[in-house]
Subunit: 507 residues, 2 copies
Amino acid sequence: MTSTVESIDPRTGRTVESVGTETSSADLEAIVGRAEAAAPAFEAAGRRLRARLLRAVADQLESRRSAVIQVGARETALTEARLGGELTRTVYQARLFADVVEEGGYLEATIDHAGDTPMGSGPDLRRMLVPIGPVAVFGASNFPLAFSVPGGDTVSALAAGCPVVVKAHPSHPATSLLTFEALTAAAQEVGAPDGVLGMVFGQQAGADLVAHPAIRAVSFTGSQSGGRALLEIINARSQPIPFYGELSSLNPVVITAGATAARPQQLAEGLVASVTGSGGQLCTKPGLIFVPSGAEGDVLVEHAAQLVNEAPAATLLNQRISEAYDEISSDLEGLSSLTVVARGCRADGDGFDVAPKLLQVKASDLQDEELEECFGPVAVIARYEAEDLSRALDGLPASLTGTIHAETDETATIQSLTSTFKGKSGRVLYDGWPTGVLVSWAQQHGGPWPSTNTLHTSVGTSAVRRFLRPVTWQNAPAAVLPEELQDSFESIPRRVDGTLVTPRQGG
Amino acid sequence: MTSTVESIDPRTGRTVESVGTETSSADLEAIVGRAEAAAPAFEAAGRRLRARLLRAVADQLESRRSAVIQVGARETALTEARLGGELTRTVYQARLFADVVEEGGYLEATIDHAGDTPMGSGPDLRRMLVPIGPVAVFGASNFPLAFSVPGGDTVSALAAGCPVVVKAHPSHPATSLLTFEALTAAAQEVGAPDGVLGMVFGQQAGADLVAHPAIRAVSFTGSQSGGRALLEIINARSQPIPFYGELSSLNPVVITAGATAARPQQLAEGLVASVTGSGGQLCTKPGLIFVPSGAEGDVLVEHAAQLVNEAPAATLLNQRISEAYDEISSDLEGLSSLTVVARGCRADGDGFDVAPKLLQVKASDLQDEELEECFGPVAVIARYEAEDLSRALDGLPASLTGTIHAETDETATIQSLTSTFKGKSGRVLYDGWPTGVLVSWAQQHGGPWPSTNTLHTSVGTSAVRRFLRPVTWQNAPAAVLPEELQDSFESIPRRVDGTLVTPRQGG
């Protein structure tokens, strides 16, 4: 029995086209088999081919720009402006990973020459990171480009030298097909081994992919329950493998008394834009905003409420997200401790439209229900007395981000909030909003559970580390060493006998 | 109900002294509570204190050298020479991690200044690794110093800036107490926060430690079943944490036709020394050695058999290991495909003595039973025809190490074996033996499951990475940044705007 894969218009909830069928287990076996067979040749082809492949991916995506944006907008209800920006980011990301591959520092190449040690004579040891093997990438619903088929997980795995099998997200199958064509065209253009890129459709195929012995790592962006389900499959494997899950994040924001007094309108505008942008469907959406109690805080909240009341309906990505939004946000409204301070429009019709909402609670009354992520255009404002803040923050789960809006002279407050947020998030922001994650060398997108489960990032250049494992060669003949570990090779950063050596100028 | 903790003499199997009682759950709670409370102050004290602490640990261990060796030898039946070497390694390791902390490259400090990007204006982003929090370290039975209370896991966690709670191994409780005294004396000497070091006794205390919400990572060296049990506790936590397990390793060795013909006696001597040293109780003991079939291979095997036949009984570390050795090695002997080619002496008496053994099988007859680690002085020799080798190697589980003995001119064979071993081990050795793992910058001790479950090493300087997590500061005021991320700080390697910058000469 094979089910068809439907592309649905979220504005109407109706199927626009059927784009194929869910992947059968025989097809899955063939796809993973080709990925496994491609792994040694892809690794052996070295860094030059990987950099060329990543640049070709960027060019192929760019050449399909208008088609990708058009299909993506129809299928996700995200705006063309947003998808255009996302494509720019996706293309930039592929090129940046090509730079990372060429720069070579990510290999952590290390040479200890043979010599005397306090434990006797030591051997020649040479260590670097090598590809982990075929990787399963689960596309995310909310970034149909940057976190999906051609997204950060795919390009960082290719940069590492790993074949990739993508599990396409059912919310945007046509976009997935179109962008997968760009990837395979790039692979053909540069002569990458057949099987370096594969894609499967369907929930069963996704589960079978994670269980497949040839798959060596899994990356996933989605719900905490979905992540737990994949972790269970991994734990049941005879050989457990790394699971990189980005699951759930509340992204708390603290607005100090000073900032509240100084710029309430500007803060309200930034807040509402960050909560409602992309229908609130961003992993870094601020879900809980701490605003001081009292008259100055009231001004900020009233302005934010007015903006939310005027906000149009948001069309969410799919039926499940839209229904979950209505259910969770209605449950929140039902709590006696919470009040609804604003509710935007909700369009009529059959689509996945929801109304933006702004809720309010006393920080000292915060309960577990308010500390769970609600995906969509809603936020809870927690009004605090100065003496309650620290305890309320200590009770929060870990997040991807923690944000501080303060005045420059509130130094003790800034120090204390920094210390709190550093302990339970991967990125601490000052006077900005957590949505909008720059792809760069110093980016960190990941934090303690439940925001992610790892010590790594899924955005920025360090994301490549997830798909690499270390190997040391002991007393190896030079002929079998990778070129990066040859004595004469000096064009990447290496640690030699304990000292970090950067490439020769112009070398 | 509290059980006493007994120090047993493995030569007699009898209790020599009682060293205390198993840790109660109230005491465990207090110990972990102190570790949790110490974490912020220990992190804030910065790299200088950590380097001083590690050097003080080295000095305090060195000052107890004769007592530690005497107690350790009595409790483990390892020789004083072996324990003296192990103490030297343990002391060296602590000092090397002090160097790592001072050098600072392990922080991966990265600065991207604000500026224009293809996605618009980008913020100032500064990223580095910070301590993960309190770590649970499970001492290993077979290295009462280097992989136990004062071992690599403890000093790499301290180097990272994490408080450590050690679960003492029941095979050497007196040594654990004595070396823990050295650690706490060092902590007091340098004024480290109270609670930075804790220790618990007892299996229940170990399980409770892994389940405790304040513990942020677990490192463990032991059996695959023990590792699976701890993983189950971690998977049941509301917040899963990283588990660094070193579990089981067969450490295959291939001796080529050329090497067999050129130096059969030397190879036999090296092999038997590596298999029987420390009672065969090393995680890198070669458990399966591929020797060519035919007359030249017979010479090698006969010489090895003679050495094993003459070998004295080995006193193993404890009753469980001794009984498991007898059971597993007897099961192997019972296989119709295997023959016993040598059996050393087995002493009489009540202690944990066992006879070294050498077994032989045709490589084409290898079954799953022969591919499981048997801890103790036994190895299986697999006699191979050239055409059978590759398939036999493909069927092996992953290991910590893979070893090749070849002649220089066997280049194609060396290339092919390198490729095979690189795919399924963390260290590939040439013309040496895998036992004896140098602590250095380029060391790798870890491989795919079941040898370890991680992308990291437990020996060598990179071991520190296991206990660190990344944090990025976005548009932070300089006053809240760690000194390593200040613009003016130039005494550690950093990546600035994409370029790796090493410290100024003399700076």
